[in-house]
Amino acid sequence: MLKFLAAALLSALLTLPVSVVDAQTKDTLTVGLVWINDTLDPHMHFQRVGILININMFDSLLHKNTKLEYEPSLATSWKTLNDTTWEFKLRKGVKFHNGDLLTAEDVKYSFERVLEPGKEQKRSPQYGNVRAIKEVRIVNPETIHLVTDKPFPLLLERLVFFPIVPKKHIEKVGDAAFAESATVGTGPWKLVEWKRGQHLRLEAFNDHWRGKPAFKNLVFREIPEVATQIAELKTGGVDLIRNVSADLMPELKAHAQTYVTSAPILRTHYIQLDMRTEPFNKKLVRQAANYAMDREGIVQKMMAGLGKPMATVVHSAAFGYDPSVTVYPYDPKKAKALLAQAGYPNGVDITIHSAFTEFRPVFEAMAQMLTDSGIRTTAKIWDPGPAWNKFFQGEGKAAHGFYGSWGYYSVFDADAILHPLYHTEPGGWVGKWYTKVEGLDPMIDQARSILDQPRRRQIYSQIQKLIKEEAPSIFLFHQYDTLGVSKKVDYAARGDEWLWLYDAKPKR
């Protein structure tokens, strides 16, 4: 039998091509993704992975540099004319991949494609992001006015990912072809081939207005298993992978051909507390829960240091952040004292729910910390689908609270988390079921409806002081984005989780 097996193995090996592992040439950059978005149409999805791909093929009016400051892109300058009118000057001589010149008509068309004025059912899931825009006015071939229904301070944030698409081309080929085979933008790379389930192959666009990118070919490969991605990275099958978890980092750091780069991102963890029922209807218990949490310990011991404790849910990179509001210190004694003062000298039993399966160990550790301080916590973990029903539809809320995270929709503004988490308007997110802080709603409303940034900053500062005191959540920490990169490539992780590969360079 051994002879047979050996013979079979040998013959199998002999029939293989000599060099089976594709030699990575210097002009190709290969990115491994867990999956590739199902459409290349940048307006018809709301998937992180789709955004990562789209930005390398399309441009928006504005861009953000690695420090996350606004930078001109298809718009060379912008200003407000009054509270509801914004003026944008368009870049001249920008070419689409098919050779057509970018016009103001294309910009207007792009907005109207998502806004679909007059239609009740909107096709684009991104409609909510720009719904404040009431009118797109072409003033002259180089000037566009965006008119909003009321003062809309988040407009510029929303325009950083709002790709401009070619009107004439889409009207000619149709939406379906544009979404998968005839995708045309103004970005650094153009589409060559998309094999669903396998790879997406792009090629440098020589007429790109920034100048052509360093890598001639950009390939996105679909590799669902993390272990497989790591193996591919080590053997040079891919040059870059995302979301390297804390346990895999040492392996990639130690390997001769790879390195790790990470950056703090907006994704903010929190435990939302039910302020309408016992025991979290009492402020002292909510504060006690905040004192019970060893944020630094979790970040260091369970997240390989790739996180940062937060004072409230307002991220330090978001507009409106007030550094004078400090993080709740870890103080179990004080937690117990507050609990006793609130009328629970023998502690209290609660249940916290979560559908955040990737962070299950962190969830369980936090439940233990609460328990150690007298808030005896049962941690219940759910599959994302049914859990959603339980929390937010069937019963309206989870008993006592839930552990979750919020990505701010990549909007670097305090409003992007305060409104969904704490505003109690019926059409809002979870605030209506959990939160009850006197005077908070009007403050959030006011800050989102004026353009006066210093004034907004003041209001947000007040809000942070108020929520630190009222503790409608257990404030936790924010995450880092971690990339594994081949040593042949020079690239640094960004704070907005973008893979802006125009910045990637071959290492010499």
């Binding site: 039998m1 097996l5 709301f46 679909e222 497989t228 591919e232």
Partner: protein, 304 residues
Amino acid sequence: MTALLVRRVIRLLVVCAGVSLVTFSILHVSGDPAALMLPEAIEADRIALRKSLGFDQPLATQFVRFLGNTATGNFGNSFYHRKPALHLVVERMPTTIMLTLAAMAVAILVAVPVGIYGAVRRNSVTDHLSTVVVFLGQSMPTFWTGIMLMLLFSVQWRLLPVSGWATWSAAVLPTITLGTFTAPLLLRIVRSSMLDVINLDYVRTARAKGVSEWRVILRHALKNAALPLVTVTGLQFGLLLGGAVITESVFAVPGVGRLIVDGIRQLDFPVVQAAVFMLAMIVVLVNFAVDMLYVYLNPQIRVR
């Protein structure tokens, strides 16, 4: 023969209805696709999406509509890919079938000779060794076998690509992985059924006639011993299709299995329904073919 065909077609229809009902129910209790598609959107957007997908209708209405559509081969459009679900499945099907057939071939090529050898040289060192290998093979889960093979052949020795499906060489590891999953069982079946027949009178008669030993084994004994092998191979085919789900994910093979896994993760009902339905059809057809093979191998069997 006609009666047989009619019975089989009826059975096929019953299986179709059963598979539809089961996949439909399991998917619809598993969660709300609108919530997964728009996790951070406001409630009004989600309500609109549910309406456009028809999820605002009562479940019974949805099922009747689903059955009607299925009967005409229309599984609806994928929520994510915005394409007919059946189209996506058919596009991926050849890859999965190729992988499954190749794995089956590898398994049979290993199991039959080794099994026969084990039966003929019973209790030899090789026989015992093969038993150990069988145990090992059966105790290793597919994803583990796959990752170990990948570590050895791709990362350590750099002989084969880590993953993908672009070249022939990329197909080697997934095929072996999936083959390893089924070879042990086949090997055991071959060995034990060979042992059953090898001492029967007709085999002895053949030997007495002076037929050469190999001819006795391959022509006379094997043909009778093959019956259980054919049965099990047919049954294993369905299991292999299931095993392909994991293998395809590990090796990034663009087959139906991965389509199902992604579909479940995204609660993309039409895709999962179409894929499970098509796979069920294949299993039914394979079993039908197995029944036919029976008749060829042993005309005494009257299919009732």
